[in-house]
Amino acid sequence: MVPEHILSWMIFFPLIGAGLILLVPKRYPTLMKVIALLATVPPLWWAASLYVGFDRWGNGFQYMEKVPWIEAFNIHYSLGIDGISIPMILLTALLAFICVIASWNINEHVRGYFALFLLLDTSMVGVFSALDFFLFYVFWELMLLPMYFLIGIWGGPRKEYAAIKFFLFTLVGSVLMLVVMLVFYFGSVEPATGLHSFDLTILADQSVHQAFLQSHTIRWLCYLGLFIGFAIKIPLVPFHTWLPDAHVEAPTAISVILAGILLKMGTYGILRISYPLLPDMAREFALFAAILGLISIIYGALCAMAQQDMKKLIAYSSISHMGFVMLGMSVFSNTTAINGAVLQMFNHGTVTAMLFLLVGVIYDRAHHRDIDGFGGLAKTMPVYAGYTGLAFFAALGLPGLSSFISEALVLVGSFQQYKIITITATTGIILTAGYFLWTMQRVFLGPLNQKYAELPDISLREAFTLTPLALIVILLGFYPMPVLNLIGTTLKHTVAMVVG
C-alpha cells in the first residue's frame, strides 16, 4: 500500500499521532504509548516501499511533490528525495520506531513526551525531504523546539544547562543559515518567471545567480556561514562542546535520535545545500574541511579515551566518527570517499543508536554510567555483554561489520587527494580500538563487582530494540551494496557537479 503523496504522509502521519495523543485523557498513559508506536509503524512500511521503489539509476529527485505555499514570496511546499536523502529517511523511520519502544519506561508527563517526540519525527523527515530552502529552514527550526523540551524536561540533573547550550549553539547555526538563505533569495532570479526563489533545484543553477551573488567575497562568506551552521550540527571540533552535555543529560531515546539522526543533518545540509548552491566554494573549502574532519577524528578519539561517563565517551566517539564523514565529503577526485561518507552517515546512525540504547540498559539498572564503577558484568549479563561487544566492535571498525566498510571507503577514497591527512586519520583506528576495548575491559571483564552480582540480563523489550540494528550492522558489513546502490548514482553526479 503506497499512498500517492508518500513523502507528505511520512512527514505528517506522526503529527496526526501527536494530535491524537493530546486528546487522550491523562489516566491512560499506555494508550498514548501505543498511539505513538502505531504512528511510527506506517512510516516504516512506507520507508520500505520507498526502498523498493526507488530508481537506483535515476539522476535527480524522485517522489517529488510541489505546490505553491506562500505565493507572495514564491515559496513552495516542495518535496523530493534522491540518493543522499533516502538512506536518511530510512534511518529516521527505523530509529523513530525503535525509540518509541525504547521510551516505554518513560512515566512522567507521558503525553508531552510522546507528542513532542512525534513532532520531532515530523520535523526530521521534513528536513530530509524538503527541496525548498524556506521549507527546509522551517523544518530545521521546528526540530529545535521538541528537542529543547525533551532534553530540558526529561533530562538528567543538569538538563537546563544542556538544553540551553544545545539550543544556543544550534541557533547560531540557524541564524547564519537564515542570512545565507535570504542572500540567495534576493540574489537570484528565476528566468522563467522573473521571481526570486527559494527552490533548491533552481538555486543550484548557477546562471540564476545575479551579479551580487557572483562576487567571490559574498560567495565565500555565504559558504562560511552555511559551513559553520552545519559544522555546529555535525559537530566538528571546535564547535562540538554542546554535544557531550546534551547527550549526558538527554533521556536514552533522545540521545539515540540526537546522535543517530540530528548529527547527520549537518553533513546532509552541506550535501543538499552548500555543494549544489556553491560548488566553486566547495572546492575552495575542501582542504579546510578535510583538516577539520581529521582534527575531529583524532581529537574526538583522544577525548573519548579520557572520559569516565559512558555517554560522554560515546558522544566523543560520535565526533570522531562524524569526522570521517566530513573527510570523505571533502574529496572530489573520486566518488569512493563520498560514497563512504554517506554510507558512514547511515552506519553511524545504526551503530551509535545501539551504543546509546545499551548505555540506557545499564543506566536503568545501576543508575549511573561511571565506567570504572562496574567490572566483570559479562558474568552476570552475558547477553548484554554480547550485544555491547558487537556494538563496540562495529564502532571500532572491525571488518565484517558495517562501519568498517564506510570508514575504509572514506580512507581509501581520501588517500588519492590527501595523503598525509588520510594516513594520520588512519591512526584514529588504533585509538578507537584502544578506548572501546579499554571500556569493555573496565565494565565487563575482570573480577565481578559484587554490588552488581544480581543485575538482571537484558529484557525482551530491550533485545527487541537492539536486534534489528544488530542485524543491519552485520548484514551491511558483508553486503553493503543495498545502500551503495541507493546512493551511488546521485553521488556520482554530485561530485561531477562540484568538480564542474
Binding site: 507572495a72 571540533v237 583522544l302 573520486n334 571488518p399 588504533i430 556520482k492
Partner: protein, 690 residues
C-alpha cells in the same frame, strides 16, 4: 571424486562450515548439551577439511600446473563509480596451490586441536562460547587464506585478531588475562594500520599508473599490474613499491609477532592451552608469512624490502631464542620459540625462498601444535605452568612424553624429522641468497645457525625440566598425576606422525628426489621462487647439513650437560652472569620500554585532550556566555545615565538585546522561540510591503 567445476562451486563451504558452527554454538550455547556442542564444533571443521582435501585432489588432477587455479566469485561486495574510474571489489575465493596448502593445514591441524579441546575443556562452564570462538577463529583464518582480494583478506586478517582477543581473554574474570587479550588486539591494530596504508598506496599507485585501468585489489589483477609501479616516482628517495612492501610487512610483524610488534604473543598464552596451539601453529601468526608469499610478485619487485624482511626475520629468530632460554613458564618458552621459528620463515621469504617459507610454516604447524598440546597435557596433569614444579613426568604421561619427544627432535633440527628438513632448507637458501648487501646472506646464515643451536639448547632444557629427573611438585600433586584421555592423546599421536615424517614433502636436492611442495607451489610464485634447488653444489649442501646437525647436537649436548648431568651448573651460571640473566629473564625490558615510549605518552595526551576540551574549549563557551550576560547588564545600567537622545535610542536597542540574552541565561527559552517565530513573521510582513 569431485571435478574442478564442482569444487569451484563449493569453495564457499570451506570457510562457511566453521562459521555455521560458530553461529549455532554461539546462539544456542545455553540450550545445547555439551556433547552436541562438541560435535558441532568438531564436525564443521572436519567437513571443511574434507572439502579442502577434495579441492586439493582436484587441483592435482589438473594436468597443466599453471591452470591450477579455481576462483569462486560470490557477489559484488563494493562498487563506486566515477567518471575517471571505479573502485570495485567482489567477494571471491581463490583456491590455488598456496591457499590449498594452507587450507589443509588450518582445517587439518585445526580439527585435531578442536578434538583435543573436547577433553581439555571438559567441565568448563562456557564450552559453547569456547567452541563458538574457536570455530569463528577457523572461519576468519580460512577467509584470510581464501580471499581473492586484499581488502577481503583484511577482513580475515582483523578477524583473527578479534578471535585471538576473545580467546586469549577467554577466562575474562581474571583481569590479567583480559588485559593480555586487549594487548594482542591493539598491537595487532598497529600492524593493521601499516597494512591498510600499504593497501591504499598500492591501489592508487596502480590506479594512476594505469590511468584508471586498475579498479580493484584482486590478486590476479595486482600481479599483472605491479610492473607499472616500476615507473612511479620515488617518495622520500624510496621507490613506491618498496614503501608498499614495507608497509605490508609492518602488518606482518604485528600478526606474525616479529620485531618490533612481537610483544603480544608471549602474553597470549593467557588463553586456554589449545588456543595457544591454534594461534601459534595453525592460524593467526602464520598469516604474515602467507601474505608475503601471496604477494611474492610485489616483494620480488622490491628487493630492498625483501632484505629488510630477511634481516628482521633472522634477528627475531636469534633474539627470541635468547629469551626462551631463561623463562620458567613452559608456555612462555614455547611462545618465544614460536616467535623465533616465525623469524626463520621470514628469513626464508626474505631471501625469496617463498616455498621454503611455506614448508617451514607447514612443518612448524605440526610440531608446534604438538608441543603446545603436549604442554597442555602436562598442565592438565600438573595444574601449573611453572617448570620448576614439574620434572620426571615421563613415567606418568607416557604418550605425552613420547609424542612430545618427536616434536622436540623436530624443532631441534635432528634429521630426518620434519623441522630439520625445513629449517635446513631455509639455511641453505640463505647461504646461497643474493641480497642487495654483499655478504649479508652469509651473516644471516650464521645468525640462523646460532639460533638453531640455541633452539636445541632451550628445548632440551624444557624437556629436561619437565619430563626428566624427579617430580618437584608436592606429594599431593604427585598422587593426581595422570595421562590425558584418549580424545587428547589421539591428536598428539597423529601430530607426532606428521612431525616425524612431514618433512617428506620437501626433500633436499641432494636426495635427487622431487621437492613435492616446491613443485606444487611454483605456479603461484613469480620468477625464481628459489629453495636452493637451482644451486647444484651437492657437496656444499651436504657439508652445511652436517654443520647444522652438528650445531643442533651440540645444543642438545650442552642442554643435557647443564640440566641433567650437572644440574648445579645453571645456578652457577646464573650467579656468574647475573646482569645478562636478568636482562633475558625480563625480556630485554621491551614491554617496559614500549610502555614508557608509547603507552604513557598517549595516555598523557589523552588526559591533556580531555582537560583541554573541558577547560579551554568548553571554558571559552561558558566564558563568552558569562561575558555576554555581564555586558548586557552593563550596557543596560550605562544606558540609564546617558541622556543623549540619539545615543539613547541605540542604547535602548542594545539594552533590549542585552536583556534578551540575559533572559536566555535565566533559562526562559520559550520567549526566544516566540521571537524567532515572530521575527520570521515580521520578515514576511516586511517583504510583503515591498
Amino acid at each position: 571424486m569431485l571435478g574442478p567445476q564442482t569444487v569451484k562451486n563449493i569453495l564457499w563451504l570451506i570457510p562457511c562450515l566453521p562459521l555455521t558452527g560458530a553461529v549455532v554454538n554461539g546462539l544456542l550455547r545455553r540450550r545445547l548439551p555439551a556433547r552436541l556442542i562438541h560435535i558441532i564444533g568438531c564436525v564443521t571443521v572436519f567437513l571443511a577439511f574434507l572439502v579442502s582435501v577434495s579441492g586439493f585432489i582436484s587441483l592435482l588432477r589438473i594436468e597443466e600446473p599453471h591452470n591450477r587455479l579455481l576462483i569462486q566469485s560470490l557477489y559484488q561486495w563494493l562498487l563506486t563509480v566515477w567518471d575517471q574510474g571505479r573502485f570495485s571489489l567482489t567477494v571471491a575465493f581463490r583456491f590455488d596451490p598456496l591457499s590449498a596448502t594452507l587450507c589443509l593445514v588450518v582445517t587439518g591441524v585445526g580439527f585435531l586441536i578442536h578434538l583435543y579441546s573436547v577433553g581439555y575443556m571438559a567441565g568448563d562452564e562456557s564450552q559453547g562460547r569456547y567452541f563458538a570462538y574457536l570455530n569463528l577463529f577457523t572461519f576468519s583464518m580460512l577467509l584470510l587464506i581464501l580471499a581473492d582480494n586484499l581488502l577481503l583478506m583484511f577482513v580475515g586478517w582483523e578477524g583473527v585478531g578479534l578471535c585471538s582477543y576473545l580467546l586469549i581473554g577467554f577466562w575474562f574474570s581474571d583481569l590479567e588475562k583480559a588485559q593480555a587479550g586487549m594487548k594482542a588486539f591493539i598491537v595487532n591494530r598497529v600492524g593493521d594500520f601499516g597494512f591498510f596504508v600499504g593497501l591504499m598506496l598500492l591501489f592508487w599507485s596502480l590506479f594512476e599508473g594505469s590511468n584508471g585501468g586498475v579498479s580493484g585489489l584482486g590478486f590476479t589483477e595486482l600481479r599483472q599490474a605491479v610492473p607499472l609501479l616500476a615507473s612511479a616516482s620515488p617518495v622520500l628517495g624510496v621507490g613506491v613499491v618498496t614503501w608498499i612492501a614495507l608497509l605490508f610487512f609492518v602488518g606482518a610483524t604485528g600478526k606474525s609477532a616479529q620485531i618490533p610488534l612481537y610483544v603480544w604473543l608471549p602474553d597470549a598464552m593467557a588463553g586456554p592451552t589449545p588456543v595457544s596451539a591454534f594461534i601459534h601453529a595453525a592460524t593467526m601468526v602464520t598469516a604474515g608469512v602467507y601474505m608475503i608469499v601471496r604477494l611474492n610478485f610485489l616483494y620480488l619487485a622490491a628487493p630492498a624490502a625483501l632484505t629488510v624482511v630477511a634481516v628482521v626475520g633472522a634477528v627475531t629468530a636469534f633474539y627470541a631464542a635468547t629469551i626462551a632460554i631463561t623463562q620458567n613458564d613452559i608456555k612462555r618458552v614455547l611462545a618465544y620459540s614460536t616467535i623465533s621459528q616465525l623469524g626463520y620463515m621470514f628469513l626464508a621469504v626474505g631471501v625469496a625462498a617463498f616455498s621454503t617459507g611455506i614448508f617451514h610454516l607447514v612443518t612448524h604447524a605440526f610440531f608446534k601444535a604438538l608441543l603446545f598440546l603436549g604442554a597442555g597435557s602436562v598442565i592438565h596433569a600438573v595444574h601449573s605452568n611453572d617448570m620448576q614444579e614439574m620434572g620426571g613426568l615421563k613415567k606418568y604421561l607416557p604418550y605425552t612424553y613420547l609424542t612430545f619427544m618427536t616434536a622436540y627432535l623436530a624443532i631441534s633440527g635432528i634429521p630426518p624429522f620434519s623441522g630439520f628438513m625445513s629449517k635446513d632448507e631455509i639455511l641453505w637458501a640463505t647461504f646461497n641468497s643474493h641480497l642487495s648487501v654483499p655478504g649479508l646472506g652469509k651473516a644471516l646464515w650464521a645468525l640462523g645457525l646460532l639460533g638453531a643451536g640455541l633452539t636445541a639448547f632451550y628445548m632440551t632444557r624444557l624437556v629436561a625440566l619437565t619430563f626428566m629427573g624427579t617430580f618437584r611438585g608436592g606429594a599431593d600433586e604427585e598422587k593426581h598425576l595422570h595421562e590425558s584421555p584418549l580424545v587428547m592423546t589421539i591428536p598428539l599421536i597423529i601430530l607426532a606422525l606428521l612431525a616425524a615424517v612431514g618433512g617428506a614433502i620437501g626433500l633436499p636436492a641432494v636426495t635427487h628426489l622431487p621437492n613435492l611442495l616446491h613443485d606444487f607451489l611454483s605456479p603461484v610464485l613469480s620468477g625464481h621462487g628459489s629453495s636452493g634447488h637451482e644451486v647444484h653444489a651437492y657437496g656444499l649442501e651436504v657439508l652445511l647439513m652436517l654443520v647444522s646437525t652438528g650445531v643442533a647436537l651440540s645444543g642438545i649436548g650442552l642442554g643435557y650437560y647443564f640440566y641433567l648431568k650437572r644440574p648445579e651448573l645453571p645456578d652457577q651460571a646464573r650467579a656468574r652472569f647475573a646482569a645478562v640473566y636478568r636482562l633475558l629473564l625480563n625480556k630485554y625490558y621491551v614491554d617496559e620500554i614500549y610502555s614508557a615510549l608509547f603507552l604513557r605518552p598517549v595516555l598523557k595526551l589523552v588526559a591533556l585532550s580531555g582537560l583541554f576540551d573541558l577547560q579551554v574549549i568548553d571554558g571559552a563557551v561558558n566564558l563568552s556566555s558569562k561575558i555576554t550576560a555581564k555586558f548586557s547588564f552593563l550596557v543596560g545600567w550605562e544606558d540609564l545615565t546617558i541622556v543623549d537622545g540619539a545615543v539613547n535610542g541605540v542604547a535602548a536597542m542594545v539594552q533590549r538585546w542585552g536583556d534578551w540574552i540575559r533572559h536566555l541565561q535565566t533559562g526562559r527559552i520559550h520567549q526566544y522561540l516566540y521571537s524567532v517565530v515572530l521575527g520570521l513573521f515580521g520578515l514576511c510582513v516586511f517583504m510583503l510591503l515591498f
